[in-house]
Symmetry: C2
Subunit: 133 residues, 2 copies
DNA sequence: GCAATTCCTAGTAAAATGGTAGTATAATAA
DNA sequence: TTATTATACTACCATTTTACTAGGAATTGC
């Protein structure tokens, strides 16, 4: 039941982008350095956030990344799902992997409730909330 | 963020013990068979529940396991923590592994909140609740 | 053209997961 | 007392996942 480094670093990267936002693009090199993550690993993580449509990017010299929206408009749930994948605590609950025994599974609704508790929490917090602390 | 088979099977084993309770000891062989788990793997899992003090056991012929208390008196949280270990979503939050940067970690209280959401939910549900569905 | 940057894909060591296997110990029934 | 049935304990192992590293192609600004 652990969140992997991908999810944890993704959140840190998003926070870094929010805190250092000056309108210009911020290079991964800076972000990675500030957060003590290797540039190469950061690349993979930020790529997932980018593919999810959460960033604006520019290649080439003076390129980099910046946030697409205001920090209030990102839920941490979205950030974690983009980087970690589905947050469902058991595979039966994942979006595409529906369990065939779902109907007569005695534990199903318990796990469904846990899934809801987790997602409700992470969706109730915005990036701005995390920064405010 | 997945619950492992240990946690899932532990819950199933506890439910099986509750549903088939007739005052006598129930052998692992039966439990394992009913739940489609190997006897040997079940052994490891039930051993954790036993060490946590949740069962009464008897060795030898006609031996086996039975619940120690009423199904209402077990929280699923206890069962999962006994089988899965700490449910903390990040290691910094584990009971003994306290993070030194805790104070100035911008994400700490967010994860703390997630930890609370998870534990509050699983502790709010008893074994009896799961069985009732 | 060259330096700085993102984008994409492959590889890899270490750890965790999900088991199997063997043996010792205990209780009971014959 | 011996065979049988069970738990208790410990070691082992294959597969998968995690947490990276590495290399190179494409793009842009100067």
């Amino acid at each position: 039941m652990k969140v992997s480094t991908k999810g944890r670093y993704a959140l840190r990267i998003m926070i870094d982008l929010a805190l250092n936002d000056n309108g210009k693009f911020i290079s991964l090199k800076e972000i990675a350095k500030r957060n003590g993550i290797s540039v190469k690993y950061s690349e993979q993580i930020i790529s997932m956030l980018n593919k999810a449509g959460y960033l604006e990017t520019a290649r080439g010299n003076n390129g980099g990344y910046k946030l697409n929206r205001k920090p209030e408009e990102y839920s941490v749930g979205d950030i974690l799902r983009a980087s970690e994948g589905d947050l469902a605590p058991i595979t039966c609950l994942e979006e595409d992997g529906q369990c065939s025994k779902k109907g007569d599974c005695i534990t199903f609704s318990f796990w469904e409730g846990l899934d809801r508790a987790i997602n409700d929490y992470v969706d109730s917090k915005s990036l701005a909330d995390v920064i405010k602390g």
